[in-house]
């Protein structure tokens, strides 16, 4: 039986030689086996995972907002139902990931606290506004598409609970991308105004979605260690290239253009040539100065505070039931 909480002895080895534990850990990673919650692991590995998994969970939870915002205005009952299912999936994905992070010895409350006090990060993509219905299409196609590209290799991450959460997430995520693609296709083939709306959304989301893969490899200080630990399997630039390669033929089917005049396949390098990414914008948004940062966090904080009575009532009820059972026994 694999349990999903860290054992005290794994957190604080006593007596055992740390060098020996380290050697056993290294051997498991080397053999492409998985580390499980009750195994000893280096503190830096645990910290890296907590940071990465909780950021990922926060991204799912914050990611509910730009789309939740459109549920009441989606153009048909079918589209409303689809959008609700997608937003519900995102809540579910957040919970899988919080559970995975909790196996590393951080509590859910602690993570929530870090998020609503802006001490934890989430994907900066959710700090962009969603002014039109076509944005729902562009988010599904580009943002979820980039997320899938990032997440598929994470299914093989060396930490068992993280990999397993990612397997579930990836299975569910592919519907997200397809429904987005379909929204854009319908708009693109609709009236000239609808086509224009679709193109405008793609223009606004294309670059931010490429930024989702993170800084270029030579400016990504933590990447090498994460790759050595087999948490990360491919570099930021490798994944970005792969993603662009998938988008090009898809954009043709959509009848929309990707907003980069310099985008072309380079036979010599076997890579996509593209314009320079505007990383100043990325760092601005990351630093909390994006269009919607404050609004997203405020909304999350309000939801958390307004839901406090529900959590308290549930705990009080559980306590009362338990007391009753004790009396009956």
């Amino acid at each position: 039986m694999t349990l999903t909480a860290p054992d005290a002895s794994a957190l604080h080895p006593d007596g055992d030689d740390v060098a020996e534990l380290q050697a056993r850990f290294d051997a498991i990673i080397e053999a492409d086996q998985r580390i499980e919650p009750r195994d000893w692991m280096p503190e830096a590995y645990r910290k890296t995972l907590i940071r990465q998994i909780s950021q990922h969970a926060h991204s799912e939870i914050i990611g509910m907002q730009p789309e939740g915002n459109w549920i009441s205005r989606a153009p048909s009952l079918k589209r409303k139902a689809i959008l609700m299912a997608k937003v519900q999936d995102e809540a579910g994905h957040g919970l899988y990931l919080y559970s995975a992070a909790q196996t590393l010895g951080i509590s859910r409350d602690e993570m929530t606290e870090q998020l609503i006090t802006s001490r934890a990060r989430y994907s900066s993509i959710f700090n962009y506004p969603t002014p039109t219905w076509a944005d729902m299409g562009a988010i599904g196609w580009l943002v979820d598409g980039a997320a899938i590209c990032n997440q598929v290799p994470l299914c093989r991450a060396s930490y068992g609970p993280y990999g397993r959460a990612m397997v579930r997430i990836c299975k569910e995520e592919s519907f997200h991308q397809r429904q987005g693609f379909e929204i854009l296709l319908e708009l693109s083939q609709g009236t000239p105004e609808q086509h224009e709306m679709a193109q405008d959304a793609v223009n606004r989301w294309y670059w931010p979605s490429l930024m989702m893969f993170g800084p270029p490899d030579d400016e990504s200080p933590n990447s090498a260690q994460s790759m050595a630990w087999k948490i990360k399997r491919f570099s930021n630039d490798e994944l970005r290239q792969r993603f662009v390669g998938m988008l090009v033929p898809q954009a043709e089917v959509l009848g929309l253009t990707l907003p980069d005049p310099n985008l072309r396949w380079n036979e010599e390098t076997g890579q996509w040539d593209m314009s320079e990414i505007d990383w100043t914008e990325f760092h601005e948004v990351l630093a909390g100065r994006g269009p919607a940062n404050a609004q997203r966090i405020q909304h999350r904080r309000d939801a958390h505070e307004q839901g406090a009575w529900v959590r308290e009532a549930a705990a009080a009820y559980a306590e009362k039931q338990a007391a009753r059972e004790r009396q009956a026994a």
Binding site: T4, S9, Q102
Partner: protein, 101 residues
């Protein structure tokens, strides 16, 4: 040994979730969640792990109720397979060509 699932600062107890995909199959561990009590754990498990017809039955059990083997005792706790391949059918080669054996 500490109670597994007993993470300091965690308000609600940890539950392990098992789902039976179809009649005739075992319940399989699918993940975990925190909930204030058993009923809420079951409802949350349904919402979280069976949004797409993944199961016909769900079990939730408090992690603290599960007794586990010690991960560090692996070698000593489990039967050593060394030299005991006679426990597997493949060990018996003389019957390899004989039908239905």
């Amino acid at each position: 040994m500490s109670t597994p699932g007993d993470v300091a600062g965690e308000g609600w107890p940890l539950y392990e979730v098992f789902v039976r995909a179809n009649r005739g199959l075992s319940h399989v561990h699918v993940g975990s969640l925190h909930a204030p009590d058993d009923d809420m754990a079951l409802r949350n498990a349904r919402d979280l792990y069976t949004r797409r017809n993944e199961g016909v039955s769900v079990w939730v059990v408090r992690s603290s109720a599960i007794t586990t083997s010690d991960p560090d005792m692996k070698g000593a706790f489990f039967e050593s397979p060394a030299g005991k391949n006679y426990r597997h059918a493949k060990y018996y080669e003389k019957s390899a060509e004989v039908p239905h054996l």
